[in-house]
Symmetry: C2
Subunit: 356 residues, 2 copies
């Protein structure tokens, strides 16, 4: 039995407690139990449990409702538990991605009984693995009403700066075909790998689009992420596949992204294997404007795909805002600056009208 979570401690200590509950994707029961138990003790929240996802809501009939969400799972342990404080930093698996953000959520939930905006706090399972397990995805299917809001904040690490929208991602396999032959009589065959050279050459000529959207500069990318071909060391290969990942700015729809890629690889057999839409920054709604002002007005574009796109798909503008450098996520030496956790809590507390 784990000791219960203590929501009266400071946000950094609470981060340590959360980090020390191991919660690799698909193994989030212990942490979800602890979170559910701690939140259920708070009379001002209506708590519900969905698998290993916990939802806690205020219901104050405010004119505005916001979602603040964080995932409870981590990538696999890599000899980086338990947590360890060292000077200004807190080290350990999940410190950055994203239990510091979860700790901020829990502190806000526990200590602001009457926020100026109604809040739906969501602590969810399985963000680090296939979408089929993703707690937000499952919630959107089973209880879409719980995701209804004017604005959402996803507490993914963003170095404490608002990252708005996100780019879409698409994967295609570009195939070439040829004819097998023994390599000792290669002129009887037709080499499919040689034909892939032109695909790679075309990728080499790609120039990235960097559109400005709501004052943010996005940056697209079109890259081979794998290439496979070959039958045996003495056989002219009859097939080659170049796997390509297109990261596209949120001013393109999925259909437009696909049309671009198909046109780029015109003449080739292009098969879509994965396609997820981007999310527009959506900074023009009042709740978003107020939030950006509260945190100092700085906004960066989000390049990577995150769950903010799930909110956008539901019509809820969403941003990433959390402590920690995103480039440290999934690394063995993952850590978070303690000051960023504190700062992040302070900003959100101010935005929700909580006592300092």
């Amino acid at each position: 039995m784990l000791p219960p979570l203590d929501l009266t401690v400071d946000v950094v200590t609470l981060t340590e407690q959360l980090v020390d509950i191991e919660s690799v994707s698909r193994d989030e029961k212990a942490i979800a139990d602890a979170v559910e138990e701690a939140l259920s003790a708070l009379a001002h929240l209506e708590v519900s449990r969905h698998g290993n996802t916990v939802v806690a809501r205020t219901d104050l009939a405010r004119g505005e409702r916001v979602v603040i969400a964080g995932h409870l799972d981590t990538v696999p342990v890599n000899d980086n538990l338990p947590s360890r404080r060292e000077g200004d930093l807190l080290h350990g698996l999940g410190t950055c991605d994203m239990k510091a953000g979860d700790a901020v959520i829990l502190k806000l939930a526990a200590t602001i009984p009457e926020p100026t905006r109604d809040v739906t706090y969501i602590l969810y399972e399985a963000e680090e693995i296939e979408a089929a397990y993703n707690g937000l995805h499952l919630l959107a299917q089973s209880h879409p009403e719980l995701l209804v809001a004017d604005f959402a904040i996803l507490m993914e690490p963003s170095d404490g700066v608002v990252e708005a929208g996100c780019q879409g991602t698409m994967r295609v396999d570009v195939h070439t075909a040829g004819t097998r032959a023994h390599s000792a009589r290669s002129w009887l065959g037709d080499n499919a790998i040689h034909k892939a050279g032109e695909i790679l050459a075309r990728l080499g000529t790609y120039e990235a689009r960097t559109p400005d959207i709501d004052g943010l500069t996005y940056h697209e990318g079109l890259n081979a992420v794998y290439v496979r071909g070959g039958v045996a060391g003495n056989v002219i290969p009859d097939e080659c596949v170049v796997g390509v990942n297109f990261r596209y700015a949120p001013d393109r729809s999925e259909a437009e992204a696909e049309a671009f890629v198909r046109s780029f690889f015109e003449g080739y057999d292009v098969r879509v294997t994965d396609l997820a839409p981007g999310a527009l920054p959506g900074l023009d709604v009042p709740a978003a404007k107020a939030f950006v002002e509260t945190v100092g007005g700085r906004v960066n574009p989000k390049f990577g795909w995150t769950d903010v796109a799930r909110f956008t798909a539901l019509g809820v503008p969403a941003v990433n805002f959390g402590p920690g450098d995103p480039s440290l996520a999934h690394r063995r030496d993952e850590h978070v600056p303690i000051a960023q956790i504190v700062e992040c809590e302070r900003h959100l507390r101010a935005w929700l009208g909580g006592a300092a």
Copy 2:
């Protein structure tokens, strides 16, 4: 216990008997036992056994000695045993590659007690797999004196036409390197797969050399036989490898072949993974000339690498000459024209001065 081989039957029936003794590489004991037993019964031959390789020699102090060799092993069974006669064809695993040739060897050995040239008959193991197991290779190391000869015939399928010499083969891995990055921020990385495009483009410009050697036209080939690259679907890859097979005419040495390939891929990291020399046709020695005349004067160049190169390396000119279409080797529907087996035996019998 298998029934003993009967060397008094006709060469086609003997082929059937050999085919019906399963002898996938590394499992040649049964067939080698049968061959050794049958040959040991012949007083005019001196028989020795080396692993599952059997050597039988006449010792008539002729002015000339020739080797006639065939391998006893086959590629794995593919629902193509036992043998089956259908019209003019004999079907089954090993009919073409190369038990029809083995049957010819055994018939010659059994029925020509006093050949006009001394003969070393070799029936050897493990030709279809790694060189380390190859019976000829092992014999060259343990008993090189048994391979001493003026001329050698390897009874690999050659459609009953003399195929002289063989091309060399070389494999290299051509590497490119880059820098990993998340594909959402691809401009922070350096894509190693894109760089491989220029390697493939260069291969596309390759023009094959087709040198004439001793009146035979060889045909070189430089081909990618595999390509591998990729870390994950969201990572800019930092490495890509193009595997290239160079088949080169026997007027180039191994060192010259390597120099050509290194120069062709100048600027790239080229690593040699395999290198085997070709074999010059060597048709100017008297035994070779006499043989070619006997079989009608037609000679083709051999493109594929075969064990003739092992004889060349020992200073023994060698050719391929055997029944069966080489392009049927290793196929499930492998078969041999019955008339070719008979014809092949007839030619060799005439050359060795045996009674018709």
